[in-house]
Amino acid sequence: MRYLPLTDHDRRAMLDVIGAGSIDDLFVDVPAAARLAEPIAGLPMHASELSVERHMTKLARQNLSAGEAPFFLGCGAYRHHVPASVDHLIQRGEFLTAYTPYQPEIAQGTLQMLFEFQTQVARLLGTDVANASMYDGSTACWEAIGMARRITKRGRAILSGGLHPHYVSVAKTMAKYTGDALDVSLPTLTAEGDLDALIAKIDGDTSCVVVQYPDILGRIADLTPLADACHAHKALLIAVVTEPVALGAIKSPGEMDADIVVGEGQSLGVGLQFGGPYVGLFGCKDKYVRQMPGRLCGETVDADGRRGFVLTLSTREQHIRREKATSNICTNSGLCALAFSIHMTLLGEAGLRALAAANHAGAVAAAERLAQVPGVSLVNDTFFNEFTLDLGREARPIVRALADKGVLAGVSLGRLYPGEQALENGLVVAVTETTTPEDVEALATALQAALA
């Protein structure tokens, strides 16, 4: 019981102050039938730090971690090198163990950081404003669709086939209950995305078009014509960025006139973490800020005229307007936002551009090498650090076979789109600055052997 400071002597003294005979007297309001007399059966009793550490370490060893293998998985989660100072700084107790900054006078550290994060995210995405983070990219995407409904008073959203299928699933789940109509398509294993098809679908009932950039196959396309088409019909363009490092090399969606830009910030500072916690990025044009979900930090002054920061515009939030709130979000990804912000501060514009260039160059070299493997062809014309290979046969068993040989080859489209035969030959390969030429060679060799 090393985390419980009360001694039995303390407990007795406290019960005396309370005027209770025993601890059971404090549970008197629990009906007798529901009161458990003993610790719940079938569960282990307390354990030492050493024995818990042994147990957890044993479980950890049953995983093949990215650092132990040539590693090429992406599709919404990317392996990047995180500078040592990032994790060191977020473990400072005053960041790590602070609560939501409800008392701004003693939370300026967190609040200033959030204000800096908002500004960094807005600049990266090319939007006027950004919030202080969402749960992750997929839920941020859904919230953006809901925001478009509130702004346009329309309920039909068009989702690109290039949007991450799990993001589509999250949107579908929510739409079933909010009544939004979603127009969803599948991607095709071609060099071109579906922007022209999306433009043709937009009409006076459309609330928004949701497009991923770069898309699920890694393709990059100019969003400007799509933005123009949306605006001609008074619909909103929502752009989704799952790999923010890309924005060090390519134009931001905001530059191409997207109205709302959401993203997954995991790439910077956070790590793979088997899917969470991640950090959702959410930016938009100034005119929509009061319809934006989530926490916002704003600049103000204190009673002595000094600059300070507070949570603001909370009239949109759950705890003020209850059933009229713009969402039910109660928290954000504060600590992950801090990690993102520190990593971004270490990079700066110069570092981000260098990092993006290294990612792109590595990916180009890998794509050229892998396309030489007999039977393999490169689907993409354009990409940043992630591209799709057509293996000429079903990719999913190949991925499994390569994993058995210690190579984590990428994400098969068969895993993401089960049952879609037109996609099952696709393998999405991600390359980052952590990928070495030896890793690429190992993948090429293993792929060649598996396909032979």
Partner: protein, 524 residues
Amino acid sequence: MALNQSGWRPTTPEAGSNAAPTFTGNKALMLEEALIFEIGSTDTTGVEVAAPISATSRLGTLARTAPTGLPGLSEPETVRHYTRLSRQNYAIDLGLFPLGSCTMKHNPRLNEKMARLPGFADVHPLQPVDTVQGALGVINELAVWLITLTGMHGVAMSPKAGAHGELCGMLCIKAALEKRGEGHRKVVLVPESAHGTNPATAAFAGFTVEDIPATAEGRVDTDALKARLGPDVAAVMITNPNTCGLFERDLKAISDAVHAAGGYVYCDGANFNAIVGRVRPGDLGIDAMHINLHKTFSTPHGGGGPGSGPTVLSEALAPFGPLPFTARMKDGHIALIEEETADDDHPDTFGRMTAFHGQMGMFTRALTYILSHGADGLRQVAEDAVLNANYVLRSLEDTLDAPFAFAGPCMHEAIFSDEGFPEGFSTIDVAKALIDEGFHPMTMYFPLVVHGAMLIEPTETESKAALDQFIGALRSVAKRAKAGDASLKTAPHFAPRSRLDETLAARKPKLVWKEPVVASEAAE
């Protein structure tokens, strides 16, 4: 190009100070810190990246030309910037964090160490399942604990925060009603003392929300609730222990009545830490309840998150839970049920709530914490949390009005009001004065059913000595308020900032930093 050549100017000290102002604006160890946009530049970086090995571009026509305007700092500047910022935060590592209904307890460092093992931290959510059996094992082992501790039938692990878990439960209820052909049930009853997220969640999921009043005792008005039940009621959302800090004695009777009327019972499990190991919510007839892992099983709150909100489900609702989830096979292998296999194994699922598996980092921390305590220690957690709260309640009821003290013991949190304060003094003055005493204030003005509410949750990780110091401070401040001590109105006096103008922030929102337009303005 440097972003800001104008230089950052420290602010002036508060009026009335005897000491001469310092040139820097710093006060010994209390350091002012500029924004990164004022001290960084776009050509500074703290990261070295190897030069590209190929010059070929596959970016098409979209190569970025416009500057991002993102400032960089070298590593030493970065470390100093964030370390200085951290010193302007209160945190549980510094002292008691008595925020009722928020629950801030000691964060065991073993949890942090385990969450950072590469086998958990450096694995990808879409790796072949055979390569992540240990990670799936953590999820599965934690799921078993949650089901056993709550006496429920299943658990959805993927919700990413408590409010997301509430949504998960309400979506399960909606799916179950539709399966029964009773999608017309649209009304969700929410007692007044519920968390603010509850009505927001119900509305978000497409339900109509109706309030149920509280009794003078601070519990749900059971008669009013029963009278409202009918064929249009989908569910009741109830918080137990409730936000007045009391156990809902009639919950089983309420559940029976709701079930008899064809509805479901959602329980907000934010306060599970008060009853873990002593009461199983399943025995009270609950159909769905989210568990804030970060509260009951400790995880650092990081200045606002991340959280994690797995939702335990009754036998009636479990089939509707979201994807993905894990299942341990007879041979010990852990399967991952996702879209591909769901049709056969989980046909009634309402879908997916998040891109991947949920908050793995929180699962690792929660399981580490649970294994450290064991079944016996978790029971002790609830007992000490309740003991500490009642100690605070009884130690202060002679000084502060305690509106529900007559109703019996409180659970994990004690509630007081500003009743008896002179004109012009209220809860906020006590709260801000507590800051000067070196404490984070309690939850203010919540729950709404109490005038000027002060909701205090000490948690089980506070020692008696820490509680005695806090009680002494609060008693002193309360007495000053009752005596009309005008200096309370301008508190805090010793914090990094005095009272901040929240109205100005909302009226003229400044949400991002903008470079000063004119150099002379920057020097203002």
